[in-house]
């Protein structure tokens, strides 16, 4: 199996490195840079997660308050009233409950999409960090 000639050729040509210290100094610098990037990425991810949790809690509380407010007001009383009796303002005042509910639904939809996208971002960041590792 072994071919002695080739083996001897390889043995005779084993390189001798004299710049080991330079190589290690370069490596240490690179490891420092990598460590800095890793810590920065971890800090960013942590901040991102905290921001997500805060946004989620604020969204839940404000949503609950708005729904509670809508439910607590009488159904036949408009939510908004304007002193000026113009055509479109009157229409807004009359349909204020529907308008507020629609706006709230829209906001919740956008919020849900945004949260979903942020979660995907976090997963991607975590994935890229794992790949880096």
């Amino acid at each position: 199996m072994e071919d002695k000639t080739i083996e001897e050729l390889f043995k005779a040509q084993t390189p001798n490195f004299t710049d080991g210290a330079d190589f290690m100094a370069r490596l240490t610098k690179r490891l420092d840079a990598v460590e800095y990037i890793r810590q920065y990425q971890e800090a960013t991810l942590r901040r991102y997660k905290i921001a997500m949790v805060v946004a989620f809690v604020v969204g839940i509380i404000s949503g609950a308050f708005t729904i509670a407010f809508l439910l607590s007001t009488p159904a036949d009383v408009p939510l908004l009233t304007f002193n000026v009796q113009k055509g479109y303002l009157l229409w807004i005042a009359q349909n204020s409950r529907v308008i507020v509910t629609t706006a709230l639904s829209l906001l919740m939809t956008i919020g849900t999409i945004s949260i979903f996208s942020n979660v995907q971002d976090i997963m991607r960041m975590r994935g890229s960090m794992r790949t880096l590792q």
């Binding site: 080739i6 490195f17 190589f23 370069r26 490596l27 690179r30 890793r38 590792q133």
Partner: protein
């Protein structure tokens, strides 16, 4: 494995790693050192998952082998092998090799055969270990070694 421990291991293994990559890069010391640095950084980043206690060199060579294959895949060389004969090396490490003919002969081998031959003859690994490092079967390694040897014999006229 913490940072200090990794650096101690890296310092101990850097010569073997650089020698292995220098042979894979056919004497191109700059490329070999860059790949060695990349391999060590990759190893550092994944050293938390390192479990093969006492087999650091094999683990490092596995990373280096993959890094070399990725490097080869990313840069397709268009230069002719014949041109290499006219190149005169100024590197001290290259000068250490009295016969550049081995590098030229290694250059004729495909990357996987070159890895198998280098691991077998330069680093002294057996077929089973080479199969683990290169993540192939033992039969594939045997074939690579056989083909590589034949090609080297032709190139070196031995």
């Amino acid at each position: 494995m913490d940072r200090e421990e990794f650096i101690i291991h890296a310092e101990r293994e850097q010569e073997a790693l650089r020698g292995f990559l220098l042979a894979l890069c056919c004497g191109n010391k700059c490329d070999a050192d860059d790949l060695a640095q990349d391999s060590l950084v990759k190893a550092y980043l994944s050293c938390a998952g390192y479990q093969d206690v006492g087999r650091f060199r094999s683990w490092l060579f596995k990373i280096a082998h993959n890094t070399f294959l990725n490097h080869k895949a990313s840069c397709r060389t268009m230069e002719s092998i014949d041109d290499a004969k006219t190149l005169v090396s100024t590197n001290a490490a290259d000068a250490g090799f009295q016969h550049q003919s081995l590098y030229l002969a290694l250059r004729t081998l495909p990357p996987k055969e070159r890895s198998a031959i280098t691991l077998f003859y330069l680093s002294g690994y057996n077929i089973k270990e080479i199969a683990q490092i290169t993540q192939t079967s033992e039969d594939a390694v045997k074939k690579q070694l056989s083909r590589g040897r034949d090609k080297l014999r032709v190139s070196l006229s031995i």
